[in-house]
């Protein structure tokens, strides 16, 4: 192998920008909100602003640049709302399932519910509760002890004849 040669191929993901422009950050945030199902530009603008604020307040995360941090903050905004509205613990599988239900299309008008007053989003929340995945039932454990299998047990008597045990 010629170690002097350096691969000239482009990296798969473009390199991170040390100081990305605010337009670029907003464009990425906008695209992300749209992918999540928010189409109203005003709602996108409001949510992006909240995400930017939240990202600015959050501590630096290793391996994430400024743009990635705002995207993480956008996801956290959503999780905050879901945790509050559905009364779920943060960083739980239930919360992840609720996010999946939200993004599955089970409640298409969820962005409106996000901005609605408490009590006005019940239909959306009911739809989310119904669509939340339940991969496994409550555990009901049972013990399954490993069985004893005495190999060549049938030959043991023959073996004893061959090599008689010394008498005590």
């Amino acid at each position: 192998m010629d170690r002097g040669k350096v691969s000239a191929a482009e990296p798969y993901l473009p390199p991170s920008q040390p100081a990305p422009s605010s337009e670029f950050v907003l464009a990425r945030l906008g695209a992300y909100w749209q992918a999540l199902g928010v189409s109203d530009p005003d709602q996108i603008a409001a949510l992006s602003e909240q995400a930017l604020r939240r990202a600015a307040e959050s501590p630096e995360a290793p391996g994430l640049d400024a743009v990635a941090r705002t995207l993480v903050a956008a996801g956290e905004l959503l999780d905050d709302w879901l945790a509050r509205a559905l009364d779920l613990p943060r960083s739980s599988r239930e919360l992840a399932a609720a996010r999946a239900a939200l993004l599955s299309g089970a409640a298409p008008n969820w962005p409106a519910a996000l901005f609605a007053a408490p009590g006005e989003a019940d239909t959306v929340l009911d739809a989310l509760r119904a669509a939340r995945a339940e991969p496994t039932p409550e555990p009901s454990p049972g013990a399954m002890p490993a069985q004893r299998i005495e190999l060549f047990g049938s030959l043991a008597s023959l073996r004893r004849l061959w090599r008689p045990q010394p008498r005590a």
């Binding site: 993901l13 640049d65 941090r69 993004l103 454990p141 399954m144 190999l151 060549f152």
Partner: protein
Amino acid sequence: MTQTVQPPIMGHALRRVVFFLLVLLTTLGAMGLMVSVFQTDGLSPMELILLVLYAILFSWICISFWTAFMGFFVILTGRDRWAISRQSGLAPDPVAPASRTAILMPIYNEDSERVFAGLRAIHRSLADTGQLAGFDFFVLSDTRDPDVWVEEELRWQDMVRALDGKGRIFYRNRPENTSRKSGNLEDFCTRWGGRYRYMIVLDADSIMKGETLVEMVRIMERHPRVALLQTPPVPINRESLFARILQFAGSLYGRMFTAGLNYWQLGESNYWGHNAIIRIQPFLDHCGLPKLPGREPFGGDILSHDFVEAALLRRAGWEVWLAYDLEGSYEEIPPTLIDYAKRDRRWCQGNLQHLRLALSRGLNALSRLHFLMGVMSYAASPLWLLFLLATGIDAYFQTRHEPVYFFGENWAPVWPVSFAVEMTTVLLVTLTMLFLPKGLALLLLLKDGRLRRAYGGMIKATLSVALETLFSVLTAPVLMLFQTKFVLAILMRRAVGWPPQQRGDHMTGFREAALTHGVQTLIGIVAGVLSYQYVPAFFWWFIPVLLGLVLAIPVSMLSSSIALGRQARELGLFLTPEETEPPVVLDYLAENLEEDEPVLPVLRERPTSRFVQALTDPYVNALHLSLLPPREPPGKRRRHYLEGLIHQLEEEGPDSLSAVQKRDLISDPEMLARLHALFWSRPPANAGMLP
């Protein structure tokens, strides 16, 4: 939870005495003929070897023959008072809580679309019975391939949404696939076993009618001493010529053999690993499998766990039955000769391991016999090969032997005694034992007009049996060499090499066939030349074996053809009742596969990589995250490893990562969330789904 010992039932004992007496007497008769041929001038060492080999192989054939004959007798008379489905058992207790049953589908890197289409067909068929409420479904995934893993999650969620199956249809992927399939089932039993009285274990390609599932539960409820009830799965749904021939044979002869097995095995039957219902409590109590001491192939994990589990249940006094007359239990088979041999390779090691278990303390005599029969289904091939070689060598020495016409004080010539009649009788008896069951199966069609029509009528069915017999004669020597190779490789702890594997229905190409069967063809040619040169009389007897080997490449290629399989079907050949009058559950399966209209929009897309989709698509990412089992945060070393993988992915793309590395990345919730943010902050140029 050990069962009390039940006194032996006279009818059961009588059946076994009759069966084993017939096997013994037939074997002794054939051996007597052989000995009369060999012993005139004393037994040479080679003849002694031949005699021992013949005794083992002939008794093996005898067991098979008399099993088929008893099955023929049972079906012909229509009388079998000991069939478990016909025993009345206990009346159901009206106050006892209704039983709950879990339908388990353990999967490992399977075609997810087919797996879930099958499961949905079973679900629908069960819903048709109105008894759906008593059953829950579990997809127990041991899948390691990251793309298949993500696809499974989506297909499961789609099934839940489409069938309103929340809280009834479950999915889990094990972080480590310890102890393979038996470990997978053990994981279910120890985590959720307490919720259910029964579990019905399926295979990834199993299909079962709803009515059959309900009937299995009903039988278990009426027979509290039964811990396991096996149904005979009928092969279905394949289109290649090879598979259709096997399907025909499995369907026509299979019902006779299973009826025969039940004739003598009764409540000491066996477990075939799937399409069976199991009482969970005794399974928990008695079927925890230990690791065997020593290293592979005979030590380590128990590979063919099913036989062992049945033996352990029997050891604890529970009954294990084969419900041979329960219809509506199906499975799919390998589409080509090469795929069939590959499956044999997997099964061979597990079966050879049973040699050790057959001598374990405390097992029932029939459990030991089941183990030995499993061993013999593979060990028979090297034994047949040895027998053929020994016969050839003996024949060679016979040709070198100059007959002496005058010896001692005899003035008249003493002519050598000819044993052609005895030898021909031995040969004819052996061939009869091998091929008569096929004729008996045909005879049974005469009794049942509906069934006869379902097999295409008597003429077509007879022609199909004749062609199937010819095909099995041609492929038997090939399978003999395959299995001999597998047995030797396992005994020598060597891996067996294979040409690159192709999945799904495909026609075997010349390259694949030549790579796989080339040596077999060469062996056939060399053996032919040698026998023709040195033992010409033996050569003519040897022709069926030689022909199978010499034609291995074209036979393997042609039999893999789907077009020929369809053509044979149009001609009415190798028809099975499942082809002529498909049960509704198979129609459901076909519908599900043809009209694949998922509820989830993401499943309508066909991305090149579900792994990448799990990183980029917010829904797929969130669903995958929600299904990850709770785990400790990674240690420092592990974190460094995962960071390295992320850098590699950023630089070189997903194709640079191995399946294991991809799985490691998407198994960690933190890395999954981080990669999702990375992809959205710096979308790669070629990722079409990202704006």
